[in-house]
């Protein structure tokens, strides 16, 4: 361990923070390009790929599915974490059960061309949602609205903004950041920030 001269603690330790993270009360925005704006009457969400039944939901159809309201901590790879965030959305379990996956991986695809890959087990078991509300209001475009994937137990780049499709894969296929050197799984408690961590 190397101690840095003159550097002192300015914040209390918090065991809800994964290693290398600090607590942030704002909601920072990170994205690779301009924010897309797809009108809701042209928006849909599809579940395709290695599934027994391909699915497509319009905005109204998605909103008619049972609502869940997770309260979760979120962790960005750029080292901020935000605690006790409140969301509303649809469980990914509900979508995948209806599609009956035949592969072990999911590639989330988004407006603007963004993609991210996840093992199926990370988006099932009540741990992932298609979220369309944040803190009681419709999800703002810069935060991924109208709807984003929410997978709070992984670094937040996995919670793909502007999600439009879940593609089930038999083999893992890297998404946007993963192709550029970020970790395939991204568990913040294991500090899996980059490939090789």
């Amino acid at each position: 361990m190397i101690v840095t001269r003159g550097f002192t603690r300015r914040r209390a330790a918090d065991d809800r923070l994964p290693p290398g993270q600090y607590r942030e009360d704002d909601f920072p925005v990170l994205s690779a390009g301009p924010t897309p704006h797809t009108p809701l009457d042209r928006w849909d969400l599809t579940v395709t790929g290695a599934v027994e039944r391909e699915l497509r939901f319009t905005w109204d159809e998605l909103r008619a599915l049972p609502v869940e309201r997770p309260q979760v901590d979120i962790h960005c790879v750029t080292t901020w974490s935000k605690l006790d965030t409140h969301w509303a959305g649809v469980s990914v379990d509900a979508l995948l059960e209806a599609a009956r996956p035949r592969g072990g991986y999911v590639l989330a695809v988004c407006d603007g061309g963004y993609t991210t890959n996840l093992p199926l087990e990370d988006v099932t078991g009540g741990r992932a949602w298609i979220a369309y509300e944040f803190e009681g209001s419709p999800l703002a475009p810069e935060h991924g609205g109208p709807a984003r994937l929410l997978v709070p137990h992984l670094y937040f780049w996995k919670s793909a903004k502007w999600v439009r499709g879940l593609v089930v894969r038999e083999r893992d296929e890297r998404g946007f950041w993963e192709e550029l050197g970020y970790h395939d799984r991204g568990d913040p408690w294991l500090e899996q920030r980059y490939q090789g961590d």
Binding site: F7, P28, P34, G181
Partner: protein
């Protein structure tokens, strides 16, 4: 190959020099064992440890040219910051902290790219764009390049003297106070300003605060730029 240093390995960086950029920002030149250069636009992760074992980790963009043997970070001191106040106000030559990287493969520019280069920075968002301008200069690249820099006042311009000879067209707009006798832009970046200054159809890099990047990127698209040509990086947090 077992001795090769990987980007993900933590190394000890030693402060070789510190230069003040503005009253609130400093450039740290670092000695990093095994540093093999970077791609313009990339960042490093740094980790500081206090005597009681407390650690804080942040990401900082690299300001220096890709081939520089010693990477340079320019850090702005942020209110309520934890690492940036140390970097700007406490650090001195010979101090050490941990560093790993370089990282990032999207908000990067390589000198063999042939399309016009438009760089748009808000305040300290200039840092990774300066690495791009230095890369272009050092490589002798002849692609047209323009920097649009939005700052509050003259004191806020990083690298002011070097920008005069960087070999790219530099357009500055002052949003709060312009220099005496200033005849250029003196307002926030808006649609008309972008229409007059942006190079369209090449590659555009936008870096700054979240509201700045959001506004600029939206306006570029509204003015007809292909979103696929626009790469953004935001200082998402006020607490760095």
């Amino acid at each position: 190959m077992s001795s090769a240093i990987r980007a993900t390995d933590w190394r000890v960086a030693t402060v070789a020099a510190i230069a003040s950029e503005t009253p609130r920002a400093a450039t740290l030149t670092l000695d990093v064992p095994g540093w093999a250069g970077h791609r313009a636009g990339q960042h490093v992760d740094v980790r500081l440890t206090a005597e009681d074992g407390y650690r804080a980790q942040r990401s900082y963009s690299i300001a220096s040219a890709p081939g520089a043997p010693r990477p340079m970070l320019t850090v702005e001191e942020l209110m309520d910051g934890e690492v940036s106040p140390w970097m700007v106000g406490v650090a001195r030559e010979g101090d050490a902290f941990e560093l790993r990287g370089p990282f990032g493969g999207w908000f990067v520019w390589d000198a063999d790219e042939a399309v016009p280069l438009m760089l748009i920075a808000g305040g300290s968002g200039l840092v990774p764009l300066m690495s791009i301008l230095r890369a272009r200069r050092d490589a002798g690249s002849t692609v047209p390049a323009r920097l649009l820099l939005s700052v509050r006042e003259p004191d806020d311009v990083y690298y002011a003297r070097e920008l005069e000879t960087i070999g790219a067209e530099v357009v500055i707009t002052y949003t709060r106070r312009a220099p005496r006798g200033w005849g250029g832009y003196a307002r926030r970046v808006d649609r008309a300003l972008l229409r007059e200054t942006a190079l369209f159809g090449g590659r555009t890099y936008v870096c700054g605060s979240t509201p700045f990047v959001e506004v600029v990127a939206e306006l570029l698209v509204a003015l007809g730029e292909d979103p696929a040509n626009v790469r953004t990086e935001r200082f998402g947090s006020a607490a760095r």
